[in-house]
């Protein structure tokens, strides 16, 4: 590899200092942790801007940084739909309309809100699936990180010096990152996780911004990048009329409904991992502003995480043709660029055999997931390289920590206190919470090794959880805004939504796939132009089924009396008055500004 580069002492020193700070924050917070609610919910004392950056950072795990750059290289600027369409509107909605119920009901978790609003069975369904899902995604995050470190040989040198076998790099990466995350959460609870997420946010910006600057300078700025790529890769909307005119292989309706509405609102408005950050805010107004504050940097993140993928593609493309031949690249500069880099987007290599992975036709499969680290190794000299790699590690850890803090809260309050011991003292639950933290990290390590050994089972599990998640937003929307919704309606609506998702996936198939994990395991009734189109339609079917079934069953079952629903349902809750004086602190004004800016970005990159 032409860009493999030895790390120098300064790079290691930067990493060590960072991890020192991370654990130091945990130690400093330890003396403030006296009750279970201080440990698990930060005693609702976090200022709005801190909660906001943590809200963003908790989601900024491995999947985000690695995956979005990979999608940038695969699909181009259309990847920004996952931000501007698939995140911002939902973040504004949860802040303005849903936070009054989450925060105002004094629920300590999202499953707890379901208990207050509906009944035990709905709460338990959500709590159990959520707990399993957090463990799985935190395990996958750890596995991805260890695999990346191993594939790129980043830490091989110190292992060679210590005379340890190279295979230990993988194990040490997993164990060490698990211990650091465990350390700071065990000591300082949710507050520690939130504080570290804020630190991670600034570190990620500090590590990646210069990378984008150097990369853009290298390709000749935005205009140079545009000249180098097919037009479909530099426009977000213009090819959305037909699935065959854009790299995502979707059309505008399934994009807006599937991604922009069902999946996006389902995640940002109901996933306890992110909502927990807003629920830890120090006032109702701060809780409502939390997702809005997060939306501002979120809006700009495509420039930080998607652009590196596009730049890598622009510099590599002469060697590899575009995946679907969506337009002709300019002939200019071809020869020159071809010699610059040969491996910013490298073929996937099997870690065990050292062989290049090939597809059915014998072409090498490209490993888009290594785009960001390869760019770091390519552009950064020692010093900045240490900072960039630290930022990458920080993003992996923030994803893991977010999952663990959500897991321990749900396990302690919604599973342990609900089913195992109802009348313990607070000190007892505090101990349980710390135990659940250790359990969460241990299970994550287990899940990481499970993912390494049984990749296919992990894919199936992820699919199952996608089915579970797809209908969720229908339940919350009806629960919060239609007081007639009943517990039975919610529960059976959810179940039938999950079933509809599974059924739809089993009956359809993306083009060019064989029946199996990709779908069509019952029969192939319909073929979609891409896997993404199939996912969006699965979500749309699941949501609609859940929405209709919930309404029908609710009308057939006895409603709850109004006085039990006060503060839980829109019609029976006092409107929020914006008590802050400054106009920019009013959630509604803030939300409109955020939406306006997002619209502007969409127009610029139309």
């Amino acid at each position: 590899m032409n860009h493999s580069q030895e790390l120098q002492w300064i790079d290691y020193l930067i990493m060590i200092i960072y991890f020192g700070f991370v654990l130091g924050i945990g130690f400093l917070l330890k003396s403030f942790m006296k009750t279970s609610s201080e440990f698990l919910t930060a005693a609702r004392s976090i200022p709005a801007w801190v909660a906001g950056l943590a809200f963003l950072s908790a989601n900024l795990g491995a999947q985000e940084v690695i995956g979005m750059a990979a999608s940038g290289a695969k699909y181009g600027i259309a990847t920004s739909h996952f931000y501007w369409l698939g995140a911002i509107p939902a973040m504004v909605f949860v802040g303005i309309f849903m936070m009054p119920f989450y925060y105002g009901s004094k629920a300590h978790s999202v499953p707890d809100y379901l208990l207050l609003r509906f009944d035990k069975k709905t709460r338990s369904l959500n709590a159990m699936t959520f707990a399993l899902m957090t463990i799985m995604s935190s395990g996958i995050s750890m596995y991805a990180m260890a695999l990346l470190i191993q594939t790129l040989h980043i830490f091989d040198a110190p292992f060679q010096m210590a005379g340890l076998p190279e295979t230990w790099v993988f194990h040490v990466s997993i164990i060490l990152s698990a211990l650091i995350v465990l350390g700071y959460i065990f000591l300082g609870g949710l507050t520690s996780a939130i504080y570290n997420e804020v630190l991670q946010f600034f570190l990620i910006v500090a590590g990646f911004a210069p990378l984008v600057f150097l990369g853009l300078k290298n390709v000749g700025g935005w205009s140079g990048l545009k000249a180098e790529l097919p037009t479909a890769f530099v426009h977000a909307w213009s090819g959305m009329g037909s699935p065959h005119n854009n790299p995502l292989g979707v059309e505008w309706f399934s994009l807006v409904m599937g991604l922009g509405f069902v999946l996006s609102f389902g995640y940002w408005c109901t996933d306890f991992l992110v909502v927990q950050r807003a629920m830890a805010a120090d006032s109702m107004s701060a809780a409502r502003r939390t997702p809005l504050i997060a939306a501002v940097p979120k809006m700009l993140f495509p420039f930080l995480v998607i652009l590196p993928g596009l730049i890598a593609l622009a510099l590599t493309r002469p060697a590899q043709d575009p995946p679907s031949g969506l337009g002709e690249r300019s002939a200019a500069k071809t020869a020159e660029v071809a010699t610059v880099q040969d491996s910013l987007i490298a073929p996937q290599v099997n870690v065990e055999t050292g062989q290049v992975v090939k597809d059915k036709e014998g072409n090498p499969v490209l490993d888009y997931n290594t785009v960001i680290p390869r760019m770091l190794l390519h552009y950064f000299p020692s010093g900045m390289l240490g900072l960039g790699l630290t930022a990458l590690l920080a993003s992996f850890m923030s994803g893991m920590a977010g999952n663990v803090t959500a897991f321990n809260t749900v396990c302690t309050y919604d599973i342990y206190r609900a089913y195992i011991r109802k009348d313990g003292s607070d000190q007892h639950y505090f101990k349980v919470a710390r135990f659940m933290t250790v359990l969460g990290v241990a299970l994550s390590v287990g899940a990481a090794y499970f993912a390494a050994a049984f990749n296919n089972i992990m894919d199936i599990l992820q699919l199952v959880f996608a089915f579970v998640n797809a209908p969720l937003f229908a339940t919350f929307l009806l629960g919060m805004f239609w007081k007639r919704t009943t517990g039975h309606g919610a529960f059976f609506g959810l179940l039938s939504g999950i079933a509809a998702a599974a059924l739809h996936q089993g009956l359809t198939l993306p083009e060019g796939s064989v029946p199996g994990i990709k779908g069509g395991w019952i029969a192939v009734v319909n073929t979609y132009p891409s896997e993404m189109a199939q996912n969006f339609w699965t979500a749309i079917f699941a949501w609609t089924t859940c929405f209709l079934v919930t309404i029908i069953i609710s009308l057939a079952t006895a409603p709850r009396p109004d006085n039990e629903l006060r503060g839980l349902v829109y019609a029976l809750t006092e409107r929020q008055r914006d008590e802050c004086v400054a106009w920019y602190q009013r959630p509604v004004t803030f939300g409109i500004v955020v939406l306006g800016l997002t619209l502007l970005l969409n127009i610029i990159f139309f």
Partner: protein, 87 residues
């Protein structure tokens, strides 16, 4: 709760910034800056981080001083200090 998060952020970035600037001065002529297109990225970005870190510390100190002052003023007027600590 606890302490102002701006303080650890400020110190971390001040340390990182100072480290990068010093390292950049020592290695100014090194070949490795060909990677970063001939730009001494350690020097420039290190300086940016250093300034950011110092600003964070300054902002935290300033608001700390303000809270203390408000508390003092409250005590003189005989009000409960807890009230103004939330401001």
């Amino acid at each position: 709760m606890g302490f102002d998060i701006r303080i650890p952020i400020g110190y971390l970035f001040t340390i990182f910034g100072a480290m990068l600037v010093l390292f950049a001065m020592v290695t100014a002529k090194a070949d490795m800056y060909q990677r970063s297109l001939g730009i001494n990225i350690n020097l420039w970005w290190g300086a940016v981080l250093l300034i950011f870190g110092l600003l964070m510390i300054f902002a935290a100190r300033k608001s700390q001083a303000q809270t203390q002052q408000a508390r003092k003023a409250d005590r003189q007027q005989g009000q409960s200090p807890a009230k103004s600590a939330n401001q």
